[in-house]
Amino acid sequence: MMHRSLSFGLALLLLAVVSGCSHVHAYERGKLAHPSMAPASLVGPGEEHMYSVHEGATGGDTAGGGGCGCN
């Protein structure tokens, strides 16, 4: 049941992500290259450690790249 709920949630989110997207060219990515737009979490190691101790949950540092179109 839990697996099904998560799969359904993921499918919904994926649908929301891919629908309504415009093709963004490299020269249009000035804002996306800003450090605050990094795809990875902005949570630093100290803060992350605090949350890992205070919260029973884990996971969430999703995404491995993309954004500004840099390597």
């Binding site: 989110l13 997207c21 000035g30 949350y51 790249g65």
Partner: protein, 392 residues
């Protein structure tokens, strides 16, 4: 002495790499090097203090697409929480050493990254490593990622060698994610984490008080150490957690920058086979105050339900019938965290190279409400972090 050297040698290697890397980068000319030093201080209302100095460094080649990095930190922990007081123990202090290294290579649309980490305290040894694969599609408008990690922990007791007492704990981490550029101002990511844990992660210091059914009903949330001591049975077994756990997390991230400010919103939904369910929401609004200074407020909300075997007061008949699963870990109980904070990033470099030196600082406070726990019903925590980063 030899053992001590063996323990700290990896840490020194990371430190040396951190210091050497920026110098190499500068010498090569076409590389970028980074070095940073960070200090954080944590204090909570349960008399726990953690002081953590960290150094980190890395080198990358933006044109070739490769990079290496390393980090080393020391946690100096001092605690005298009500749990410790309830066992008539004194305040204790512990030092943890932790380091990690990583390398990545992404010459075009396809990339790989590997990482390894270790941490050491006299009673806990941890190793982990993993790799991530990324693939850009649609002219880098869409990025897919998949990662796998393996961790091995050895849990021991202070003052007892691992060869005399230790428990092994192994975990596997898997993640798949997708990042999509929606428009020139909006980025969205979705990720699914799956973690498999095997082994006994019960704390060898955590004793669980047991009560008769009649006395258990007299124990309320936040019962004092004296109340518990007066009502509990003589038998006081150690904590015992299940030996297997599967954990699932679904995370969505949104980054939106319409002008000179960026809104970031993270949402994580979590569930596991111990019946814990949780929701975590993290919000930041980063505002540029000119070319050099960015400030942001931060709000975080976390709610979780208790694990299936959680009980405020575990019951025994006194005939040796101990509940098979038992815990006193408040972070496995029902709780809510409300966090808020402020951050600042100040680019200190010369004009045109502002980011050559960056000073950043954050202060975060978290209020925790424990709905059904012994000794403590709430906690206030504060974390302050100062970081200085240089880019060469």
């Amino acid at each position: 002495m030899q053992l001590t050297l063996r323990r700290v040698a990896p840490a020194f290697s990371v430190v040396a790499a951190c210091l050497v890397c920026p110098a190499v980068a500068r010498a090569e000319g076409n590389l970028t090097g980074r070095a940073s030093a960070e200090t954080s201080v944590f204090q909570d209302s349960n008399a726990t203090t953690v002081f953590t100095p960290t150094i980190a460094g890395g080198v990358e080649s933006p044109t070739s697409g490769w990079g290496v990095n390393g980090r080393y930190l020391v946690d100096v922990v001092s605690a005298a929480s009500p749990d410790i007081v309830s066992t008539a123990s004194r305040r204790w202090m512990e030092v943890r050493h932790a380091g990690n290294i990583g390398a990545r290579y992404k010459p075009g649309n396809t990339g790989f990254a590997i990482n390894g980490a270790t941490s050491y305290t006299p009673d806990y040894l941890s190793f982990s490593g993993g790799g991530t694969f990324t693939q850009d599609l649609d002219e880098k408008n869409l990025t897919l990622s998949a990662s796998y990690g393996l961790g091995y922990d050895r849990i021991g007791k202070t003052g007892t060698s691992f060869s005399v007492f230790s428990r092994d704990f192994v975990y596997h981490l898997m993640n798949v994610g997708v990042t999509r550029i929606v428009n020139p101002s909006l980025l969205v990511s979705v990720g699914l984490d799956f973690q498999v844990e095997r082994g006994d992660q019960s704390k060898p210091y955590r004793f669980i008080p047991l009560f008769t059914a009649a006395d258990a009903s007299k124990i309320g949330a936040g019962a004092s150490p004296d109340q518990v001591a007066n009502l509990r049975q003589q038998e006081k077994p150690l904590e015992q957690l299940p030996l297997a756990r599967e954990r699932y997390a679904l995370t969505g991230r949104l980054a939106y920058r319409p002008g000179k400010a960026t809104l970031r919103l993270d949402e994580r939904l979590y569930a596991d086979t111990w019946s814990m369910k949780s929701t975590t929401t993290d919000f930041r609004y980063l505002m540029d105050l000119g070319d050099r200074i960015t400030v942001w407020p931060h709000v975080r909300f976390h709610y979780q339900s208790a694990v299936s075997f959680w009980q405020l007061a575990y019951v025994t008949t006194g005939n040796g019938d101990i509940p098979k699963l038992r815990t006193g870990d408040r972070e496995l109980g029902q709780l809510v965290n409300l966090g808020t904070g402020l951050g600042m990033r100040w680019a200190l470099g010369a004009r045109g190279k502002q980011d050559a030196w960056v000073l950043s600082a954050t202060v975060d406070g978290v209020y925790t409400k424990f709905f059904e726990a012994l000794y403590v019903t709430q906690r206030l925590s504060v974390l302050g972090v100062v970081n200085l980063e240089a880019t060469f």
